[in-house]
């Protein structure tokens, strides 16, 4: 499948700010069954966009806007090809747990097998684990399928019931949240059993008839778990689980960035100088498209001059609002 993605992010400040510095993690990854064929990032006011690869292999674009501005707008446009993954077996042998413990002993995926900022265990989490009856009696694949479904059933999808930086306890206590919360909860539980798990930030193309719960006009997140014995040479495979939509990830899920949890992969992260309140609006549109005429990858970074006003030095740094994944 080919998709075209348009992701618009706008910050509107109540009074002029300056020296905005921002990092963006929006470029779809090119690996496994997914290829990013085209990516453009337009920034207004114009800024010189540069990029680097972080240690997880995510492409991070960054730029600064030194002069005064009331608005900051980002338009990211991508064309991506995603292939449907091979069908998974109905289950794994119970010996898969031994392979998972071996992986733990090797330390290769250490950070995906231990708690991180948003996936720390808590009393509320223990309550849920007891309630759902999660342990190693099932094989890992069957367990994750069941867990995916149980989290879907145990929580209501309610936008704005949690915030971008809420700990999982808030969603756990109220049994409602958005995809970011469900992803963190599922990761926390699975890592508790030492299953290597990572957080995926990305986009989802909505199903037609039986609509997904996740908001189509926002970014999405889900879990990837490493399962031994799968894949072309049986050396293990990262398998996507989407507890928000009670589904396994296939060619509708477009991966932009991976990390230990949300803190590693926010689509935007930035600071600015100035005393202003800001309003953040985000729009995401994912459409199936034809293969692009020119399939050579293009990365167009718009050069530009800054607005020319002199930087100011008298105010403190403020954090830009981040977009919650829904």
């Amino acid at each position: 499948m080919f998709y075209s993605i348009r992701h618009v992010t706008r910050f509107h400040y109540s009074s002029p700010v300056s020296e905005s510095v921002m990092e963006v993690r929006m470029r779809p990854r090119s690996e496994f069954l997914q290829q990013c064929l085209k990516f453009e990032l337009h920034v207004t006011p114009r800024a010189r966009v540069q990029f680097y690869r972080d240690y997880l292999g995510n492409t991070v674009h960054h730029f600064d806007v030194p002069g005064h501005h009331n608005r900051l707008a980002l338009i990211a446009e991508a064309v991506v090809e995603v292939e449907e993954p091979a069908e998974l077996p109905a289950s794994l042998p119970h010996s898969a747990w031994a392979a998972i413990d071996e992986m733990w002993a090797s330390g290769e995926l250490y950070e995906f097998q231990t708690p991180s900022h948003f996936t720390e265990p808590s009393a509320e989490l223990e309550k849920l684990i007891a309630e759902l009856g999660v342990d190693r009696s099932l094989d890992p694949l069957t367990l994750l399928r069941a867990l995916n479904e149980k989290i879907f059933a145990a929580f209501d999808y309610v936008p704005k019931s949690t915030r971008v930086d809420s700990p999982i306890d808030l969603a756990l206590a109220n049994r409602k949240g958005v995809c970011q919360d469900f992803t963190h909860i599922m990761i926390a539980i699975a890592r508790g059993l030492k299953i290597p798990c990572r957080y995926v930030s990305g986009y989802v193309f909505p199903r037609e008839k039986h609509a997904d719960r996740s908001t189509p006009s926002a970014t999405h997140s889900w879990v990837e778990a490493w399962l031994p014995g799968l894949g072309p040479n049986h050396s293990g495979l990262w398998v996507g689980f989407d507890p928000t939509n009670n589904t396994l990830c296939g060619n509708r899920h477009i991966r932009a960035a991976i990390g230990r949890d949300y803190a590693d992969v926010p689509p935007t992260k930035g600071v600015y100088k100035g005393r202003a309140t800001s309003e953040l609006t985000v729009a995401v549109r994912v459409l199936p498209t034809d293969a692009p005429a020119d399939d050579k990858e293009e990365l167009i970074l718009l050069p530009g001059s800054n607005s020319g006003s002199s930087p100011v030095a008298d105010q403190h740094w403020e954090q830009m609002q981040q977009q919650q994944q829904q």
């Binding site: 540069q50 972080d54 600064d64 600071v271």
Partner: protein
Amino acid sequence: MTMTGRALERRKFPAPFSNYELGDPFDEMFLADGAPREHYQEIYDFLLQLPAEELRLHKQAADQSFLHQGITFTVYGRDEGTERIIPHDLLPRIITAQEWGKVEAGLEQRIHALNLFLRDIYHEGKILSDGVVPRDIIYSCKHFRREMRGVHVPKGNYLPVVGTDLIRLPDGEFVVLDDNLRVPSGVSYMMTSRQVLQRIFPRLYQACGVRPIDHYGQALLATLRNLSPDGRPEPTVVLLSPGVYNSAYFEHSFLARQMGIQLVEGRDLVVHDNIVYMRTTSGLRRVDVIYRRIDDDFIDPLSFRKDSILGVPGLFNAYRTGNVTLANAIGTGVADDKALYAYVPKIIKYYLQQDPILQNVETFLATDPTHLNHIVNNLDKLVVKAVGESGGYGMLIGPHSTKEQQEEFRLRILEDPRNYIAQPTISLSTAPCFVDGGNIEPRHIDLRPYILYQGEKSVIVPGGLTRVALRKGSLVVNSSQGGGSKDTWVLN
């Protein structure tokens, strides 16, 4: 009637040493039988013939000099009046050329190995795959910077500026207590102490044949310039300070003056298009090398602590790209974590295939169940340290603690074992100090040499800062805990 051996040992010293007592610790000036060591003979004779009144006048002159130079530091954790003149002891601490030779070689070896270790864990991580250092010590360390993985640092040098803490065991052996690989301070006290003492004891200084240290500032500048980003032949070097409220602000301004470079704060720098600039009255000026005296956490609110108002947003990305050099590199704190310290001898062996020249102090890790058991059952004998703290904060000195304090630490250790280590209580060596009332008495000291690591070789100015626990019997030398300083003379 025979004299007992005990009475013979308690030999009476002549004034001004009348109150001097020798105990178990190694004494820098006196042999066990009470005779002065050969390298202290000169100063011993000098002190014996010096009238008490004159010694007092010298002390006054030295105090005045420190006061006028404004050599101060800040003590945290108290409500009022935190800025102090650094207490200073008049009598120099002397190290022989032979002793120093070993210290120098040992430090060079140790820091070279630690630098290789940092390069390894931020790239291939071979030492972790080989199981020499446990992975969880690295990943659970709050100073481990994942963001540094795969980042190239100029000349592969993570540690251009180091100040290692050494102590002397009762047998006279120097051992390493703390590696201080982040932003070690105190070098300004070393330099100003020397200036003052040279003025007060000019003839003694000449007679002893003391190795000079006044090239430190230029050596530091050369070290920093040498790390300039590629193709920047005349680099602009600045010193980045957290500002006047920092405990070491005196030192920041002192060093900037010594090197003839700009002293800046975060708000004086700006990153535009991934290049770092300094705001000057004549516009923006590109900065190439930053000697930063700010912790990693606070250096860039975009990449690290969001609430930092001291840092420069975007600085880390400019650094990552190689457009600016930070000294020291980001993430060096993972190698001076107090739990990692226990592994440094193995680290030296692993990278250099050599035995460590300078030994460690025996260390118990609370994360190890048998060690933990030993720690909680011997709190009255051990020194317990919080791994994330420095400067003598968060520490329990068993023999000098109350039952309540021990109980409090026991609970804290059990709750968070990763955060604690323990070591046997070591009696630091003692050196003669001029105390109130005009006498000279022994006080406990340590030694912090300053190493400018430049790859295979290092520049180490002879000596370093000798810190003194000025309270009688105290083993805490940190200036934040009432310690003072002493000039350190390495002889030719």
